[in-house]
């Protein structure tokens, strides 16, 4: 990660005098020195596992109508099913759907949307950012104009515009999130790549007559990764919150694939009549996810950027 330039030069022979931990090891040790961050990481891993294995561990398939009974509709947390005798620890919604299962499936969709959009946005943003920084000049100023233009509008507004025109759908939400987020990564990568570009190892790579593409992605890019990770930790929580908001507003995921945001929206109508559990428990799941990511992200930020205070 630190020494990308060596991949074309044979490593020097002989024993290494001082044993230095790999950057990954050093990073892990520093990260673990903060117990709150470790708690956040454990919580996040747990949530991710629940999301991945939801179909295997959920007490019920909440979208298999054969398993639902309208008789069980609107049960309070802890009550049991009239038919199967199954206990609904977090109650049921008006259609008799077990909220524990619904939340597990909802998490799955929320995290899936966030993860895919994060991956795509990072990839697109990085390629564009590195290209802008490496070539500079007109290409650079053109790309950065677009980035500035986009960042001058609130993300939620842009996402709403897109979804209002495109309609609902998991793929469309992902597209909207990618379009909203790529600019942050492009700007981050560009600003660190512009500093790195002037360093000697890039000149060295150039004098070896390596191709532009190789220098950009094998030499320049690896050295721009730390700030990228910092931005990504902030953006992933933002992506989850934004998806939830869009789904809550009714322009996000379709009713057949409800994310946490849509579950909350569905239960919202019953909040005033006292059936708080239909929307509050999915909300708590959403909040725990976001808090876990923030705890991890804050620590990552501190470790990667020691100068940053607060």
């Amino acid at each position: 990660m630190t020494d990308a330039a060596t991949d074309d030069i044979p490593a020097p022979d002989g024993p290494v005098a001082v044993k230095i931990d790999s950057p990954a090891k050093r990073f892990a040790r520093e990260f673990a020195s903060d117990p709150i961050a470790v708690v956040g990481l454990i919580l996040f891993v747990l949530i991710a596992l629940i999301a991945i294995f939801a179909p295997l561990i959920a007490p019920q398939d909440p979208y298999d109508l054969a398993q639902l009974s309208i008789m069980d509709g609107g049960l309070q947390p802890g009550e049991s099913s009239f038919g199967t005798g199954m206990t609904f620890w977090l109650g049921t919604d008006t259609q008799g759907r077990d909220m524990v299962s619904a939340i597990m499936y909802g998490l799955r969709i929320s995290l899936f949307v966030a993860a895919v959009s994060l991956g795509l946005a990072i990839t697109i943003g990085t390629v564009i950012g590195v290209t802008a920084a490496y070539f500079g000049g007109k290409i650079d100023s053109f790309i950065m104009r677009i980035v500035d233009l986009q960042l001058s509008f609130p993300a939620i507004l842009i996402a709403l515009i897109l979804l209002a025109l495109l309609g609902r759908g998991v793929d469309k939400v992902i597209l909207a999130l990618v379009i909203v987020q790529w600019a942050y990564y492009a700007r981050t990568v560009r600003s660190s790549a512009i500093v790195e570009r002037r360093k000697d190892y890039i000149d060295a790579a150039r004098s070896l007559a390596l191709s532009d593409r190789r220098i950009m992605f094998r030499h320049l890019l690896p050295n721009c990764v730390p700030p990228l990770i910092v931005v990504a930790t902030v953006q992933i929580a933002q992506a989850i919150a934004l998806e939830a908001t869009l789904s809550f507003l009714g322009v996000g995921v379709p009713i057949t694939e409800p994310s946490l945001g849509l579950l909350i929206a569905n239960g919202y109508d019953y909040l005033l009549s006292g059936r708080y559990w239909i929307s509050i428990f999915p909300g708590i799941a959403l909040v725990l996810t976001i808090i876990a990511i923030n705890l991890v992200g804050d620590r990552v930020r501190d470790v990667l950027n020691p100068r940053l205070d607060t």
Binding site: I156, L160, L165, F248, Y268, L271
Partner: protein, 325 residues
């Protein structure tokens, strides 16, 4: 300065033009504009008439010209649902959103700055840590979720405040406002807090970080050494110096307040333009959607322009560096 103003104005016009192209392409080029712009319940003759009036049978660039020409004349089509010009409907709703945004802005500054300074003066105290913890929750938790909790606590459990609507309104400067009647005020409190929380959290963090920085400066140490009271040091020496970045952030975030109002208005059924947008999306009332987008873009670009100009007046270095660049 003039060069900077002209250049900055050009950028603003360019932003609006770019958004107009995007909205135009979104409506006219993706999918069939006849479906988008003409009421699904229209008769064949009406469809033909509207197609001709909007010039949908002509090439795309000519259509764009017509779209821009109409937009410049304030004509963004008629609402399917209300049968009135879309722009008029949105302007009817504008005062409600503006009232909400301004009250939220006042709340976020009025509470955010003192809390941030307090947390900055005593960063390791329990109060300081609590404020910071709260601010992290304030801007990491989704807006709509905070709003729902407010409703659950203050409207459902305690029953102190109404859960939605605008309440009684009175005429004020030619607009209908809520904050002058007791009933309206009780309806305004929760949505305003909801909209303010995110900005307040930002301002708290900013004020805290700046206070900590300023506290280490020589002039603060000197003021203390001179024997000035703690209150005077904080109110005069520290507060004055942290306000510059705070004012910048307020300006920049003002535009996003209008966008965030969409969420708050939906949660609290506040009859502003954000609620109108969501209702229009659900009703497929597309002329209103297009009109909302263009108006909001105009508002945000105008705010950004004004903020930049004011800021360059306050801090001459900005204009100068822009001119060189």
């Amino acid at each position: 300065m003039i060069v900077y103003l002209i250049r900055r104005f050009g950028q603003s016009v360019l932003s609006i033009a770019a958004m107009a192209v995007l909205v135009f392409l979104g409506v006219y080029a993706i999918g069939n504009p006849i479906d988008v712009l003409i009421n699904p319940e229209a008769t064949q003759a009406e469809i033909a008439a509207t197609t001709a009036r909007l010039g949908l049978d002509r090439p795309l660039y000519e259509q764009f010209g017509i779209f821009v020409w109409n937009a410049l004349h304030g004509d963004l089509g008629n609402s399917f649902v209300y049968g009135r010009p879309a722009v008029d409907i949105i302007l009817d709703r504008l005062p409600a959103t503006m009232e909400l945004a301004f009250v939220a802005l006042i709340l976020s500054v009025g509470l955010g700055v003192p809390l941030g300074v307090w947390a900055g003066l005593r960063p390791d105290s329990i109060a300081g840590r609590t404020i910071m913890g709260g601010s992290i929750l304030g801007f990491s938790l989704p807006n709509f979720w905070q709003g729902m909790l407010l409703i659950l606590i203050f409207a459902v459990l305690l029953g102190w405040l109404p859960a939605g609507g605008r309440g009684e309104t009175t005429e004020f400067l030619g607009m209908r406002v809520s904050f002058l009647t007791l009933d309206g005020l009780s309806h305004l409190i929760l949505p305003a807090i909801n909209l303010a929380l995110f900005k307040m959290s930002l301002i708290i963090r900013l004020a805290r970080a700046n206070t900590r920085e300023v506290c280490l400066q020589d002039y603060v140490k000197f003021a203390r050494a001179k024997g000035l009271s703690g209150r005077r040091v904080v109110l005069v020496h520290i507060l004055k110096n942290i306000m510059i970045p705070v004012v910048t952030i307020i300006g920049l975030e003002l535009g996003s307040m209008v966008a965030f109002a969409i969420v708050t208005e939906t949660v609290f059924a506040w009859p502003g333009m954000g609620k109108l947008l969501i209702d229009s999306i659900n009703l497929l009332d597309r002329p209103v959607i297009v009109a909302y987008l263009m108006l909001t873009v105009l508002i945000i670009v105008t705010i950004n322009f004004v903020v930049d100009v004011i800021y360059s007046l306050l801090d001459p270095r900005i204009g100068l560096s822009e001119m060189k660049g």
